[in-house]
Symmetry: C2
Subunit: 125 residues, 2 copies
């Protein structure tokens, strides 16, 4: 999905008698926030969290779809649906090999999320 | 929201002639996945990502609600709604001081998310 970056928001100083602090600025650009929210939305389901974690902990961070249904206790169509959402969000990559689809961690995707969250926590520490 | 942890899922070995690898195990406990998904759901909106980032980057990781509407360009009721979701997810804490509500990062909440994602990326590196 391609999103159009909104125009920069005007940052106004508080009126005289404002409650407390000077006006705050945006800590992340709107288009960055949009991308992060999209990734988080893909992870906003327990089954998808489990699937991503299972794939991530396999040798080579890769797993066959045929091995992913048992651990999460869902049907293969449901698992495929969740995997598709993770692929569309750029968190997993899909490769068809003969009868089976293999899913692997998209390089840098999780690391990018970690870096974004880490930045927030480190600034506040 | 209190969730009842589902019973452990049976992990079956693949039938003879299974496609590839031995059966995988759950990489995260179901109740942990549920908690993570809840946090990610709270972050699945660009405005909430921006609000959390703004609060996180303030001195003391705290901001007055009166200063949060301008940077995200939304009305105060809308901002209050988003902040409520972040508080309910345990990511922010709210404190009323006279007329204004102040929001601060919930200690350890973001760090916990970072640790969970880091674990996944490090195993796969």
């Amino acid at each position: 999905m391609t999103t159009t970056a909104p125009a920069p928001l005007p940052l106004a100083a508080p009126a005289d008698g404002g409650c407390c602090a000077p006006a705050l600025t945006q800590a992340v650009e709107p288009e960055v926030a949009q991308g992060l929210a999209r990734s988080f939305k893909a992870l906003a389901d327990p089954a998808r969290v489990q699937l991503l974690a299972i794939v991530a902990t396999q040798p080579g961070a890769e797993a066959c779809v045929c091995d992913l249904t048992e651990p999460v206790g869902l049907s293969q169509p449901t698992v495929s649906h969740h995997l598709k959402i993770l692929v569309e969000a750029g968190l997993l990559e899909r490769e068809q090999r003969g009868r089976w689809a293999y899913f692997s961690l998209a390089p840098g995707a999780l690391a990018g999320l970690v870096a974004s969250l880490s930045a927030a926590t480190q600034v506040s520490a």
